[in-house]
């Protein structure tokens, strides 16, 4: 509505544009059902507009004159018109609900697809909880607005204009009352809506905060309990909840003003209509049935204005949501799939980093820089370094969890940025630091990397990962249920399942990010020797804190503050590298280290 433009401040109109842009782009494929919906709404509204006129006719020409035949005849017409109205209306509801739901589905799919294309960097930027809200709740809000708009955008203006025209048709002089009613109503409603907009916006933001806090508390439940932060968390939530309730109350109070004001305006004007109408009837200028019709049209106009108002009250919330959705859709992944991907590799599993650097946008210093490293098939390369030296970041560059900001990462001489993602997933596999398992069963988790793996392959991988024994003991064995995140097995068991999952896949390059930390010494040793046999042909890169895990590696790379400060075998580094010596001697005695 044009008058609404006047009550938007600049930032508002920008937000409104974002909402419109989103809707335009996403409603494009549904032009046909929308056109159909408009036609049905037109018919439906015209029929409802015609009904009061028919009513008036029945009274004036039937009831007043006592003409029963007339009443019956026009009664039948009225029933027919009502029938048309109800059929068209239901049809319109059908297409409206269908299109709005389809819009919701499409936007959700678009957001999900975009998030999937994100690198760890973008996911980190938004945060997983916020991305979840954007994919479900935000889309739901936009969908609801669209549904409302479908019902009202056609019928409300027609009802309003049509109501005025029909009222004029009943009696021109009496329509003068409308001249007073419509502006008064318009001013009152727009005053309230204008004050309501900022409140609604604040409400959406505070609702987000409340949901955000709840999400954190569900996710971080264990930590909160261990550190006895229940009280603190309760206060934090209480604060957010009170803030939300406060703003919801103020907007509610405004809303509570709306209905009584509108109804009083309508009622007072209907008194005026009766008073002036009586004079018109008395002077013979108007029939009595017209008075009833006139009141009905007045009611219709007011209803149309009220409905439009309700829709505009939903706009601020949907605007905020649309903005947040568009933010995701406008963010390009920093890891771009190659335009013309390399689909085949000649050799198998040679890994090379050349002057690789990774820097977060806006950070003063890179996390890692100038990393040169070669890992060959049949060799084990270990990376060791103090906490925060950039070990995990380095590993993440290889499967492109993020891309190097400088230098390059090569697999068999091919830059990973030009490698076909499917081939990459086949060639390189990473066992992450936090061994995350998906909900399902042991088998579905193990088959995650290779859906067609046989049970035998699974048992073999479990055997190597030293997990056969405990899986055998589980209720259901391979089909034993696994909770989300793998919380129903112990930490060491989870790590071994994660290792087995990668073994099932049989990649050419194995990347282990501190994957043995939760294992006891015997299991660690047994696992590594079994692993050495299993991965004899493959390229293995191990990140570790524990010296014992890596001392037999073919090559050890020492990382400090994001740089390589030494490369060599254990005994070479013990002699030549101070950083390495320091790390080793913090864990082992001089004799053990020798």
């Amino acid at each position: 509505m044009s008058e609404d433009g006047a009550i938007l401040c600049p930032a508002d109109s920008e937000r409104f544009r974002v909402l419109i842009r989103l809707l335009r782009a996403r409603l494009g494929p549904y032009k046909k059902p929308i056109a159909l919906l408009v036609v049905l709404q037109l018919l439906q509204t015209s029929a409802s507009l015609y009904l009061p006129t028919l009513n008036a006719d029945i009274i004036d020409n039937g009831v007043v004159t006592g003409d029963t035949g007339y009443i019956l005849e026009f009664g039948a017409v009225m029933v027919a018109v009502s029938l048309v109205q109800v059929v068209c209306n239901i049809g319109a509801v059908h297409y409206g609900a269908k299109t709005a739901s389809a819009l919701g589905r499409d936007v959700r799919a678009a957001v999900f697809e975009r998030v999937q294309s994100f690198s760890a960097r973008e996911v980190g930027h938004f945060g997983a909880p916020s991305l979840i809200t954007r994919t479900t709740n935000d889309v739901q809000q936009v969908q609801m607005l669209v549904l409302m708009a479908f019902t009202l955008m056609v019928s409300a203006p027609i009802m309003c204009v049509g109501g005025i025209v029909m009222a004029l048709g009943q009696d021109v002089p009496l329509s003068g009352v409308l001249l007073a009613v419509v502006p008064v109503l318009g001013i009152a409603v727009s005053l309230i809506v204008r004050r309501m907009r900022p409140l609604f916006r604040a409400m959406q933001e505070r609702l987000d905060t409340v949901n955000q806090v709840l999400r954190e508390q569900i996710t971080g439940n264990r930590v909160i309990r261990a550190f006895v932060r229940d009280g603190y968390e309760k206060d934090r939530f209480g604060e957010a909840n009170t803030a939300l309730t406060d703003v919801s109350l103020s907007s509610g109070r405004l809303m509570a003003l709306m209905f009584p004001i509108v109804m009083t305006v309508v009622n007072v004007s209907s008194v005026a209509v009766v008073w002036f109408g009586a004079h018109r009837i008395d002077s013979g200028g108007m029939e009595i049935g017209a008075l009833t019709a006139f009141l009905a049209y007045l009611m219709q106009i007011v209803m149309a204005v009220m409905m439009a108002t309700f829709m505009f009250m939903m706009v601020p919330r949907a605007e905020v949501c649309a903005e947040r959705i568009e933010e995701v859709l406008d963010t390009a992944s920093s890891v771009v799939p190659p335009a013309s991907p390399v689909r085949e590799l000649r050799r198998h599993g040679q890994l090379e980093l050349r002057g690789a650097e990774f820097r977060y946008p806006g950070a003063e210093e890179p996390v890692i820089r100038g990393i040169d490293l070669v890992a060959r098939p049949g060799e084990t390369t270990a990376i060791i370094g103090s906490t925060g030296s950039g070990k995990s970041t380095l590993l993440g560059l290889i499967p492109r969890l993020f891309d190097a900001t400088d230098g390059e990462v090569l697999v068999d001489g091919v830059d990973v940025r030009t490698l076909d993602p499917a081939l990459m997933a086949k060639t390189v596999s990473l066992v992450p630091q936090k061994p995350y398992l998906f909900s399902g069963t042991v088998a579905t988790n193990l088959r995650y990397g290779k859906p067609d793996a046989t049970d035998e392959e699974l048992w073999n991988a479990l055997e190597v990962a030293q997990a056969r024994e405990f899986v055998e003991r589980l209720d259901g064995g391979l089909n034993a249920p696994i909770a989300q995140g793998g919380t129903n097995v112990s930490g060491g068991q989870r790590q071994r399942l994660a290792i087995a999952r990668t073994l099932v896949r049989r990649p050419e390059i194995y990347l282990f990010d501190d994957s043995f930390s939760a294992l006891d010494y015997t299991t660690d040793v047994a696992l590594r020797s079994a692993l050495a046999r299993e991965t004899a042909e493959a390229t293995v890169v191990i990140v570790a804190q524990r010296v014992s895990t890596i001392r037999d590696a073919d090559r050890i790379v020492v990382l400090d503050e994001g740089r390589v400060v030494g490369t060599g075998r254990h005994h070479e580094l013990m002699e030549s590298n101070a950083t390495y010596r320091e790390i080793v001697l913090s864990q082992l005695t001089e004799a053990e280290a020798a």
């Binding site: 439906q44 029945i58 029963t68 009664g75 009225m78 009502s82 239901i90 609900a97 269908k98 709005a100 739901s101 389809a102 959700r108 799919a109 697809e113 999937q116 996911v123 980190g124 930027h125 945060g127 979840i132 479900t136 609702l207 954190e216 569900i218 996710t219 909160i224 309990r225 261990a226 550190f227 909840n241 809303m255 509570a256 009584p260 004001i261 109804m263 009083t264 008194v271 009586a278 009595i288 008075l291 009833t292 820097r359 977060y360 996390v367 906490t387 925060g388 499967p399 969890l401 997933a425 995350y436 909900s439 405990f470 112990s490 068991q493 896949r505 939760a518 294992l519 299991t523 804190q545």
Partner: protein, 432 residues
Amino acid sequence: MLSGVDFVPGRGIDFGAVGDVLLLVLAVYVGAGLLMLVSSRLSIRVINRTVFRMREDVQAKLSRLPLSYFDRQKRGEVLSRATNDIDNISQTMAQTMGQLINSLLTIVGVLAMMFWMSPLLALVALVTVPLSVVVAAKVGKRSQPQFVQQWKTTGKLNAHIEEMYTGHALVKVFGRQEESAEAFREQNDALYEAGFKAQFNSGIMQPLMFFVSNLNYVLVAVVGGLRVASGTLSIGDVQAFIQYSRQFSMPLTQVASMANLVQSGVASAERVFELLDADEQEPDAADAERAELPSAPEGRVALEKVSFRYEPDKPLIENLSLAVEPGQTVAIVGPTGAGKTTLVNLLMRFYEVTGGRITLDGADIAKMTREDLRSASAWSSRTPGCSAGRSPTTSRTGRSRRAASRARRSRRRRGPPTRTGSYGRCPTGTTR
């Protein structure tokens, strides 16, 4: 009001009488407006308080649920109940509650007036009510399962999204984007189906009821016309009657469509109450039998014949006794899966022992409040979970200010202004 314009053909209108009636009507309308304002404000307050308390209850419940609950449930599902469903309840209540009462009262009032004026016409006006009720019940019955389905699929989809976003790195590493997208598509389509059906069913209530009210109108006009023709009813009365029957069917339509909308809220409410009714961990002992923790606990820990099993038929720890004196450091070793972490979980009362007891300075820890117990001990998890939020939130979680400032330093220098959370988003694994 219209009866003031009582009009008998051939006689003029008594404007004095009309004026008097209209003035009275005006006063009534203004008074009604004021009362409506008061009642709206009251219902707004009630709704907000209710939702406020429901949120508070859910939050409090989260801290009382045993950890095993979170092991069983998908996080995204719990999240959906705590956020999407409460949100839906609040919205449906706001859209219905004030109006519902208002409409119900209007129905009663109008009905009384109609009977007072003309019992016969009142009965005529009521003829279509059973039809309205049948229509409303039919549509309502159809939409109820649709709403349940809608919120159920929302929860499911939310759970899938949560899992995929949390395991984002793994999906990438294993090249499973397509499968994950496929599973998403399935759930998303299910939500589309359920959402469409629920919206459609709730949308057709009003047109159907409107249709019934139009039928009613014709009926009243016909009967009224016949009565006027026979001279038993004045035109003003018929007019007023038509007004009343409109006034009667409008709130009836509203009640029906709101009752339908309420079902959506009820479907959500059921899901929220399911969460609120879930079994809780054993409440802390009542004040009377509560074991007082010494103000300066010495820290003598003793396990007396402790048994524990996660699943009733699978013994994990049986008859374990152990005493640790203050000043001693006891390390617990064992192969993985032997129950080391479980033992710590029992000491912290994340889980409750199924046999025997654990004492701290001679007092049974089961009789202490969890808060006292956990304040007296410190724990370091092996899977460091950061509670999400800007990083300082995480550092506030513990007491180690040094670790926090170290994390801050390293972040300032090289890290992104990132939220902490799952894999790859905390500064680094070990700074957590």
